[in-house]
Symmetry: C2
Subunit: 219 residues, 2 copies
């Protein structure tokens, strides 16, 4: 099953690989040796045909009537996502969210190691969070050159997020994860992903509303 | 454009509606009166055919050569997602993440009002966060009966998340947003959504790895 490591994988498929990964980790924890595309689809919130199509881009086709080998597919998706190596991460903004992210166990478990913390609040400088000392924003360049983070996380208020993004880019960071509720402008060689903490609340809202409407219709 | 409010919308489509909503809000902020399905697809990270299919479930088809009316589609998706009404929310776990969520501006802006905060740490009880007093976990039932939250957010460590979920369900909360890195068991009439803060980091990891490989191949 040799696969060209640089073949094209559609962006939408890439976006779903972490969902499949999470479903597979749960299956592995439940000691399931195999998983059907239907079950994988259900746990990832997509349909089974899409699962099969997505995984075919990885050269993975499963076995008819049996499904996919959980451990094998886990390894394959982890390799595809680059999770078999560690990625150093710097967090800018050490407020409540930055603290929570620095201490979030789900990062370390998946190879994202926090190597730098930066803030512009003098009262936070020198504080140690998750074993890392908070450095001043002015020293971001030094932090980046000293720790070579692959990814910069912005956990600041929206008003300063663009300035922070500019500084990260100037320091040589080309992947940014933005938690600030604002759209960032960056050069085309820089990847930015945005986390919107309200997305899932909105999905719950949909089902809540449906439930009330059904209740009203039935009542 | 009268549409049966209880017609079926596929789960995967519901999951994408918040992405379209975010893209449309950005388009509205950029003063764009219309948006093409291609542009909407790009901003939401899916393909244009899927955008058209998804929006057709809402009875929205756009205009050939013009695209979708941004304000009209915004209203339609907000209505569909139940965002034209407010949803009271209770947060259990007022550590760093709970603090960050209680203060997250993106919630209030979209109609999610924090009406209750609960923690089991005596040092936090009575503290006021975002204008709401932190109450002890034992009083969760009272908090729920007094504020009728539509949604409970679990922002506790993984070890106590199931206990908290059981308490929320016992108190009558039937929608749960879980930030704890664990799988919850709940009755079938309870909706649970999980937020995994590492999902987007993994997508960045994919592109980072690609970039290194391309660099290595070129070098």
């Amino acid at each position: 099953m040799s696969v060209d490591p640089l073949r094209h994988i559609p962006e939408a498929t890439v976006n779903r690989l972490p969902l499949y990964l999470r479903a597979l980790v749960e299956a592995a924890e439940g000691k399931h040796p195999t998983i059907s595309s239907e079950r994988l689809a259900e746990r990832a919130g997509v349909n089974a045909a899409k699962v099969r199509k997505d995984l075919s881009f990885l050269g993975s086709y499963g076995t008819r009537g049996v499904g996919y080998d959980v451990e094998g597919l886990l390894f394959q998706i982890r390799t595809e996502l680059g999770l078999t190596q560690d990625w150093p991460v710097v967090i800018v903004g050490v407020g409540n969210l930055g603290h929570a992210l620095a201490n979030y166990r789900g990062f370390g478990a998946r190879g994202f190691e926090i190597v730098g913390l930066v803030d512009n609040d003098p009262s936070k400088i020198g504080e140690e969070v998750a074993g890392v000392e908070v450095r001043p924003l002015e020293e971001l360049g030094d932090v980046v050159s000293g720790t070579s983070p692959a990814i910069g996380i912005i956990a600041t208020p929206a008003a300063v997020a663009q300035d922070v993004a500019d500084r990260l880019v100037a320091a040589g960071v080309s992947s940014i994860l933005n938690f600030a509720p604002t759209v960032l402008s960056v050069p085309s060689n820089v990847s930015v992903r945005k986390v919107d903490l309200a997305i899932e609340l909105q999905v719950l809202s949909f089902y809540n509303q449906r439930q009330s409407e059904t209740g009203a219709a039935a009542g």
